[in-house]
Symmetry: none
Subunit: 221 residues, 2 copies
DNA sequence: TATTTCATTACCCATTTGGATTATTGGATA
DNA sequence: TATCCAATAATCCAAATGGGTAATGAAATA
């Protein structure tokens, strides 16, 4: 029998979750808490042998929120698995909860069988349960370049490049040669070259490498 | 119809995956590749409008492995979704593949419906598909920034550039010519050129413009 | 110790590029 | 109308680039 504790400020939410778990017959709800403070108090007064195996924690709660409660509890009771069960899926909450010590993050919208299945898997294999859409967001956190691409706004045309020149610059950045660009936009390679040299003059450089450096660092590409 | 490309060195694996996808009637396999080099070559010769929407990539392949192929392709063809489909689930491979630009990571042990379902979800919502056990490992990476940091320092370099090559790449991005770089670091311009061509091989490109594109978009500069 | 990798240099060749100049067209402007 | 400018195109030339091959020594690794 897997011992579970539930922390959620809405009594009805606690009831719904408890029902889902009890239906499988594999879980026992050893206590419920209405907020983080309440949860920590009940953990304190619990004999060590009666500690829950798994804690399902909502995030937005009065007095002490879920992140804070997980942070404290995961230090004091490191043998317990803390799983966030909430409706929030914004990056900041996910990140904070995980850093606080959550081993899983489930959205309330998941259906009952998915939740019980994942908790069972946590019990058996130790792998924390994560809702797919949350998993993707966590992946993006690891994917550092994505973090860097903080919407750099469309830089105004400080170099006064004409539309055609911007087009050529774009194609040059793709590694195309004059001949290839000409074929692509149906003009002579000589003209492409002329445009390119004009771009160099406007950017005050004299090579592709430098033009591309400016283009990348100034957000033209 | 969702266009899919498959890269796997085992013909039988490709066939199994293709069968799974074709059975749903929602995917069309536009090409298969036996290794990373083969994959990149086929992408190069593909008209822009025929590019795959999704690429399923095995990691362990001869000639050019999956990480390297994803690294290059995700810079050159940023509109394509790259999904790792492999049997490996060790932290290092996961980390490297994600840093290279993979938007999802599926284990081959997943059954056909799960895979098609997750790819469909990728297509509809943009959320990258991640096998649950992989998701848990990624979560642990976020949870232990120390591990992440050390691995990042070692594996930052998904293209395995040597120190000298990184130095040359940096100087190339400054717009210096072989001759100038040679003078700056006291080696022959011939050597600079040799390093440059070696860099091209590692990045799987054949021009300064493309090498710089990858360098900028992958944060090497 | 044997083998592999890295950094180094050289040479050949065909292609591409940068630089400078000249010229025509069509649209916008003064 | 006369003028300016962007886009187009061509030519000549010198320099730089990309691609391939070969070779050496030093350092790290198996």
């Amino acid at each position: 029998m897997i011992r579970v504790a539930i922390a959620d400020d809405k009594a009805n939410n606690r009831k719904v979750i408890a029902d889902k778990l009890l239906r499988s017959g594999l879980f026992s709800i050893i206590f419920e808490a209405a907020n983080g403070e309440d949860f920590l108090a009940k953990m304190r007064h619990l004999p060590e042998d009666d500690q829950p195996h798994i804690v399902l924690m909502d995030l937005e709660m009065p007095h002490v929120d879920g992140v804070s409660a997980i942070g404290t509890a995961s230090s004091l009771y490191p043998g317990v698995k803390y799983v966030v069960l909430t409706i929030f899926d914004d990056d900041d909450k996910i990140f904070r909860a995980i850093r606080a010590g959550a081993c899983g993050y489930l959205l309330k919208e998941e259906n009952g069988e998915v939740i019980t299945g994942m908790l069972l898997n946590l019990w058996e294999s130790g792998a924390g349960p994560i809702s797919p859409s949350i998993a993707y967001k966590i992946l993006q956190m690891v994917q550092q370049p994505a973090v860097l691409k903080t919407e750099r706004q469309q830089q105004e045309n400080i170099f006064q490049l004409s539309d055609r020149e911007k087009e050529i610059l774009q194609l040059l950045s793709e590694g195309l040669e004059y001949r290839e660009i000409g074929a692509k936009i149906f003009i002579s390679p000589n003209t492409v070259k002329k445009h390119t040299l004009n771009i160099y003059q406007k950017l005050h450089v004299n090579s592709k490498a430098l033009a591309l450096k400016i283009a990348y660092t100034k957000g033209l590409l």
